[in-house]
């Protein structure tokens, strides 16, 4: 599905990695490892098309993503470091809006269910009054509604989650792999997901 060919990433005048190539097939997951500042986040942003690589290309089912643009975006879900949760909106409003913006509007019932799965049922307060972990849960709840998107790109999704949250997320990821989606994620902890491949950026550079 996704192919990276000879990727090179440069930030602030430093080359973070160079000549990075891999291919990801349906049903496979990939973990990006590396020390702080090794370029994991940068790689994920390149893969989803936010950051143009300094060299090389990413292709989706054979076509370079630079040409696909919105068509490619509509195949993926990217969750970054920043949870993209608006302080002034409740978790449900946040979820409804982020789904609609991604082009897959959800029924309010589906939204309720997704939030309930993440332990946020009945939290109607504005998100500024959620704890750190609850905010991350509110962002992750989108995954429960994203079964139809083949590619998930998750940047440290496990951070700030308690053990129950980690287990829940692992379940979601495994279910997605089982329905032949593809997942790329970064994490410093051992997430306990059997990944097809690990890219270690400390060694790639």
């Amino acid at each position: 599905m996704l192919e990276a060919a000879e990727l090179e990433c440069e930030r602030g005048g430093w080359v973070l990695f160079r000549g990075l190539s891999f291919a990801l097939r349906a049903g496979e997951s990939l973990r990006v490892a590396g020390a702080n500042g090794s370029g994991k986040t940068s790689l994920l942003r390149i893969l989803c098309g936010l950051l143009p690589p300094a060299g090389g290309a990413v292709s989706w089912r054979g076509t370079p993503i630079a040409r696909l643009r919105e068509e490619y975006s509509s195949q993926l879900v990217y969750l970054g470091h920043a949870p993209a949760v608006k302080d002034d909106l409740s978790a449900a409003e946040n979820l409804a809006i982020s789904c609609a913006l991604a082009g897959m509007p959800a029924e309010s019932k589906a939204i309720e269910e997704a939030l309930a799965r993440f332990g946020l049922a009945g939290k109607t307060q504005p998100s500024r009054r959620l704890s750190q972990g609850q905010r991350r849960r509110a962002a992750l709840a989108r995954l429960a509604l994203s079964a139809s998107r083949p590619l998930w790109l998750l940047d440290e999704p496990f951070s700030a989650l308690d053990t129950a949250g980690v287990a829940l997320l692992r379940e979601l990821i495994e279910a997605h792999l089982a329905r032949s989606g593809a997942v790329i994620f970064t994490t410093h902890q051992d997430a306990g997901i059997a990944t097809a491949r690990v890219i270690d950026l400390d060694r790639a550079s």
């Binding site: 975006s73 990217y78 970054g80 909106l89 897959m104």
Partner: protein, 222 residues
């Protein structure tokens, strides 16, 4: 695609409501600037009447500029901007929707309140129409041009001044045409020329600004 634009506009209005203020800020600022002048200048009616169109338009300009800083900054900081750009709509549509929402919140209220200010400055009521029309045509231009500047200065050192430096020169024609049309009408002449030009400016920016905003937004999330 239209659904996304609608959601975006709805969301921005909802946020403006939530922060309650934000709708009112631009409006309040406009009213305050316009009201402070008589306090500072002294309340001589003839003097006030002759400076009224200028004051009102300068106030509109400032209040549009004031809210630009927040236009994309919050979305940029909390990661929502990336999500929007990775969303289902082309970035140009997103830009147009954001600009439109900004206008709804910060421009439209000014059009509605302007006659009240005009009253305060004792302008003849025959001018209310021209004033409101000039604002109606001019404020969306301010929003769209401003959005270009706001997008270009996102996350850039010295954002504040830079934004003003980029945007204000581009605002000057709007100010001159807008205030000019009211002054023209006050002098008893037909303000059609100025208003037509304002209209042309509006069509032009609505057609081309979204492209520039979109390009600038893409650059900002790199």
């Amino acid at each position: 695609m239209l659904g996304v634009a609608r959601t975006l506009i709805y969301r921005d209005l909802l946020l403006a409501m939530r922060r309650r203020g934000d709708v009112a800020t631009a409006l309040l600022f406009f009213v305050i600037v316009a009201s402070l002048f008589p306090l500072g200048v002294g309340a001589e009616p003839n003097l006030l009447r002759s400076i009224a169109p200028g004051v009102i338009w300068v106030a509109a300009l400032l209040s549009a500029m004031l809210s630009l800083g927040r236009l994309f900054a919050a979305d940029h900081a909390d990661g929502t901007l990336e999500q929007i750009l990775l969303g289902a709509a082309p970035a140009g549509v997103v830009a147009l929707a954001k600009g439109f929402a900004h206008w709804l919140v910060s421009g439209l209220p000014l059009v509605a309140i302007a006659p009240v200010i005009a009253l305060q400055y004792d302008l003849p009521s025959s001018l209310y129409g021209v004033l409101a029309l000039s604002l109606l045509l001019g404020t969306p231009v301010l929003s769209m041009i401003g959005a270009i500047g706001a997008a270009l200065t996102l996350g850039v050192r010295g954002g504040g001044v830079l934004l003003a430096l980029l945007v204000l020169p581009l605002y000057v024609p709007v100010l001159i045409l807008g205030a000019g049309s009211v002054e023209m009408a006050a002098a008893g002449l037909a303000p059609d020329g100025q208003l037509l030009l304002l209209g042309a400016l509006l069509v032009f920016t609505a057609a081309f600004a979204p492209w520039a905003i979109a390009a600038a937004l893409r650059i900002s999330v790199e």
